[in-house]
Symmetry: C2
Subunit: 338 residues, 2 copies
């Protein structure tokens, strides 16, 4: 591993000078500073995180943009990002894009004026990808495609779709509905789960319809109304697959209307947020690695701020099935958690 | 109502000059600027919010500190604060104090160095109140007591305790437990609900115990374990009162263990967050006015930033009972929602 002494030798200075450059404290001539930084980059030296950030950061602030801070998936992600950013010496600025459709240019402007050092982008985007491609500033997409050269971090949604489909088939469903937005209106990777799910289910000769609906807001009423309309239109549905809040709304509808779960209706939720654990019975969930998504986003954005090249433009993290009692797989053949 | 022309006449300048002072754009001599500002204050002129903020703000950032961003009460509050701050032209910086016990001095330092223009304080505090009293900067306590001269905004928790107690008595409970932290470890006003609740219940000759527990973290496991230990220790409990997450954990425990709700057990939750609506059956809730708490906090902190005197040091907002099916009051005598 490269040490501070290797850097000092390479740059032709003392270790104390390298330390001053990294901490930003004490005087170092501009040309010496630049030589030290070149050596650091060349040798790929990794000093104490905080010291590095003190040198490279301008405002010390990173903006995190999500659709709605009160939605459990996004509140858990932002909570974990904030904790990880603080470890690296950064403050977190948040933006709820759901109540501000015109946020994009403003945040890009803040980035250009160095009021924020980077942006973790987890909301919809409406700008052309050229505007991101030519940005040359630290920006990453959290489950959002911005441009080819901008890194994206996401869970393995194709695997998520596959796990859900196989669990539905194992449970013997014949008429399955996918609830929620299945069109890629916000350039997510997560939308891929729908196509994979459908493909596997239909290949097995089972009916798979979509009940597409993009909620106006993230309230209980919005999710419940969609579930209620779906059950009214397709009363013989025996399998429902949707994000956590759709799954919770479907379970509540079933309990209220005497639909037996899992005998007459199987339910699988997608996201695996903590609030789902308060529900009874336990809903079978496809769990996103929320903690790891946050940590990986922070690792990547801080490396970009330090001027490091990010060769890997797409990071895909593993996703898991947590079997509850709203599906009825062959419990003897399968482990409780796979 | 005072207009921009009144201000201009009072200061002996043109309306365009007042406008330049307010927007911060264009040159205005320092002494003219000060004269205009004196006239604005004297006449208590209220211009367009955004323009005022542009003049008075330094960083344009307000810090919001809460224990945990993923806890539904705090994620809803922060979501609403962020939306209200944006309306006033401010960005929101967030801090999750649960994972950073040493945040206090750092944020006060940021305030002094004008890296943030104000702090909305919704977390625990460990500093002596003198350190806040002498601060002379825009700080408000959201349900937290910091010092006598620092404004505090909270729901009417005494009324909340009274509404819950009366609902329990109306439902015929004989052995009631209050779940969760009842000691004032974080200088909240909300803690008052416990004393009021107990007083009213005991006055009616009904047993009221406390099962005090401060959760290590805000996970399902932490809340559920407390509920499970309580039921093991006090199996004949017929009424449980606690925050939303304690109430949800108690309901889940009851459903799992065949305890009939509301016949054998009544449950009342405190906070009234959106996630509770996904649960079935509906839990009777004491609802905090989350939207209004957020708006009032933003109104007050932005007025302080503009240098306005805040005569009212304590703002108490109304709280309501939302009756669900986990209590069984006299439904003929009482309205469904009071």
């Amino acid at each position: 591993m490269t040490t501070i002494h290797d850097v000092a030798r390479h740059a032709g200075v003392g270790a104390a000078t390298v330390s001053r450059v990294l901490s930003g404290k004490g005087y170092v001539k501009l040309e010496t500073r630049e030589r030290v930084m070149q050596s650091i980059r060349k040798l790929n030296y990794t000093p104490n995180e905080m010291a590095r950030n003190l040198y490279f950061r301008k405002s010390g602030i990173i903006a995190v943009i999500v659709p709605d801070l009160s939605h459990p998936f996004f509140s858990e992600v932002v909570n974990a990002i904030e904790a990880a950013l603080r470890e690296e010496g950064y403050q977190t600025m948040v933006c709820n894009s759901f109540s501000d459709r015109n946020y994009e240019l403003r945040y890009l402007e803040m980035l250009k004026r160095q009021q924020v050092d980077g942006i973790i982008f987890g909301a919809h985007t409406s700008l052309a990808s050229e505007q991101y491609r030519n940005l040359e500033r630290p920006v990453i997409g959290l489950d959002r495609r911005l441009a080819d050269n901008i890194p994206i971090i996401a869970a393995d949604h194709e695997e998520g779709g596959r796990l859900a489909a196989e669990e539905m088939l194992r449970s013997g469903c014949k008429k399955i509905i996918q609830l929620g937005d299945i069109e890629d209106s916000v350039a997510t990777l997560s939308i891929r789960r729908h196509a994979v799910f459908r493909e596997i289910v239909e290949e097995a000769g089972i009916s798979c319809l979509s009940y597409p609906k993009h909620p106006e807001n993230y309230t209980f009423d919005a999710f419940y109304e969609t579930a209620a309309c779906m059950f009214a239109e397709y009363p013989d549905t025996d399998g429902v697959f949707g994000t956590d809040l759709y799954a919770a709304a479907a379970l509540r509808y079933a309990l209220e209307h005497g639909i037996r779960v899992p005998e007459d209706l199987k339910i699988i939720g997608y996201d695996g947020t903590e609030m789902m654990r308060f529900l009874y019975p336990d809903i079978t969930l496809i769990s996103q690695p929320i903690e790891d998504l946050a940590k990986e986003s922070v690792r990547m954005i801080t490396e970009m701020i330090r001027g490091k090249e990010i060769p890997q433009k797409r990071v895909v993290l593993p996703i898991t099935l947590r079997r509850g009692s709203t599906t009825a797989g062959d419990r003897n053949a399968a482990a409780d958690s796979i």
